[in-house]
Assembly symmetry: C2
Homo-oligomer: 116 residues x 2
Amino acid sequence: MDIEPELCRVEDALDILVGKWKPIILLHLLKNGTQRFSELKRHVPGITQKMLTKHLRELEEEDVVERVVYPQVPPKVEYSITEYGKSLEPILAAMHEWGTKHVLHKQQKIKQQPSS
Amino acid sequence: MDIEPELCRVEDALDILVGKWKPIILLHLLKNGTQRFSELKRHVPGITQKMLTKHLRELEEEDVVERVVYPQVPPKVEYSITEYGKSLEPILAAMHEWGTKHVLHKQQKIKQQPSS
DNA sequence: TCCTACAGTATCTTTTTGTATACTATATAA
DNA sequence: TTATATAGTATACAAAAAGATACTGTAGGA
């Protein structure tokens, strides 16, 4: 690797990705395209409206997600990944791939230490 | 991309990488190899002993970092990346690369909105 | 007339994360 | 004798993140 720890920009990516619900929100938008607020809420079980709003606002602030409001009643708001946001895909893919192996690693660890 | 959000393992990677000082600790160990506690402390400016200890313990718990204690006085404890830990490199590299571009993106954004 | 869907806010509490500071033991050096 | 380096621990505190719950306005349907 060729990252000078002093010039490390890993944090910049983490700043955007970190948040209990952000990865799954991004994955949904990447996979399913444009989604309404309520669709996201349904697809992310357990999330509260407050958290969904907060994380979407933060992702929007970073130009990773776009928010389009339709002046209707009842309201309609659509969220989608921006072109810039799509550049996060390789990171998410790398993390997912690693995570998949990590599950196996943890299972092996438990087998090796059955008495705890 | 081919990640089913329902089977998403991105969080597994984030769990390990998230923490104010974890990426820089990992980068130091990856780049400089085995390091003593005090060396790490010197190379990570601003970190307190408690945080360094805590993060190292968590990384050790995940088998990403190895801790070797020499029975000496004054104490000597060495930390190094495990083989398993090295598998995190592509993720860190992807994030660093993205972060480097992100800096430029932010600069362009500021240029476009000079009045705020 | 009351209820529901929609996309949120507002307020409060809990949990997690990080900071600050003082303290430990002991071999060695000045 | 006193100070220093080492690798921590203990305690208190502050800040950030997340959760729980109640509330808003309004068109359309039963």
